[in-house]
Amino acid sequence: MGVKVFLKASFTEFQAPALVASSYLDDLEGFWARRMHSKRELEIAGQEIARAKSYYQFNAQRVDTLEAEVRRLEAILDLPSRREYRYEVARVIRRDLSAWWQHLILRKGRDYGIPEGAAVVFAGGVVGRVVEVNAFTSRVELISSPNFRMAAQFEGDPRPVVYEGLPQSGFGDPVGRVSDAAQDLVATTQEPLQLVSTHLGGTFPAGLAIGRVSWLEPGSSGIFQTGEVILDRDLLSLHEVAVLIPLNSQQSDNNVP
């Protein structure tokens, strides 16, 4: 066992510099490509960034106000404190999406304190879970991977369901499967149900988008329903993601299978 771990670590760390170096070369290429833009284009981009910045500053103030309100209500109701996270933004340096596995390699590892089992998210919702952490890189299993499972819930419905990845055909949007959905839930193409994460698994904070469900049908047990989850197509071409690092790691109870 020790030999296996040693061999795996040795070979992985030996090839990490090539991966990291190629990603920095990629960044350099992007830098020089941007240098080719005209001043006018840069001015327009600057104006758009300024607009976005003022919008996000307003949103940040609003979030601060709402968080203060939540803390006040939690104190009144004597609720236990929720799990807090630190966001570590990381660049994707490899995407390895096949029929057998769906992995991403990130350019941050133990050097940034990324733990195994941490949740990974992007603007469109859940990306996956960290399954391997090395010195300078980490490997993420995508939610579309056949080996991925997590607890979830439908938006506005607190009852938990099970989400799992499926083998992808490669044609069309990535998909997953939801099971253990209650019989009274109805999903149609016109009014799809939004599947979101729940805090029950311990890894993901509640409310992060997973995908949408356009139909549900009775499962093999006849008690619950199952359905197909349409995932965000951007999952296949991610460049930046955020790793959620629990701040109170002593209480961590991740749900890595």
């Binding site: 795996k8 090839q15 999406l97 096949s98 029929a99 057998w100 596995w101 083998p167």
Partner: protein, 176 residues
């Protein structure tokens, strides 16, 4: 000599091949195409080297591939050694100095590896249509790409032997 210097060159070429294939796969991740090109890595070590050098080169290449692809350590290592041992035991029958036989062997080994991977990693999804669509797409694309990659790869390895002033012919018989 315990380790033939050509084994180091072949291992380096194998590492380069998997790096380039993964680079392409990462670049085309939005397309329904995935390249699975591992077959050529086993062929020349089994045809060219004596058994110690062949074993060390194939073992290291297998471990390298296992860590690159994130499969359980030893999976491709074992398959490489099995496929290499079969080629090694029959290498009298093949003309290693030309590309025809090595290319055929590369296709056969690649197909063998893909089938074993599909049966072991995708055992739970053999009844899922999307899985078979992806596997068949991968199989087709990989073997079409292999028609171009395999001759380049074998010529590249022989060119490296020449540059390093090493023997460009297979090791003399007897086999062991």
């Amino acid at each position: 000599m315990f380790l033939d210097p050509r084994a180091i060159i072949m291992f380096g070429a194998n590492a380069l091949l998997i790096f380039l294939v993964q680079l392409v796969n990462s670049g085309i991740s939005g397309w329904p195409v995935y390249l699975f090109i591992l077959g050529p890595m086993v062929v020349l070590p089994a045809l060219y080297l004596r058994h110690q050098s062949y074993f060390i080169c194939t073992l290291c290449s297998g471990l390298w591939v296992d860590t690159t692809l994130g499969v359980p350590l030893g999976f491709f290592t074992t398959l490489f050694l099995v496929a290499g041992a079969i080629i090694f035991s029959m290498r009298l029958r093949f003309r290693a100095e030309h590309n025809y036989h090595p290319i055929l062997l590369a296709h056969s080994v690649n197909l063998f590896l893909l089938i074993v991977l599909t049966m072991s990693a995708g055992g739970a999804y053999l009844g899922v249509m999307s899985f078979w669509i992806q596997v068949l797409t991968t199989l087709t694309c990989s073997h079409v790409a292999l028609l171009l990659v395999a001759p380049w790869f074998f010529n590249f390895e022989r060119q490296l032997f020449e540059i390093c002033h090493l023997q460009t012919e297979p090791e003399d018989l007897p086999l062991l």
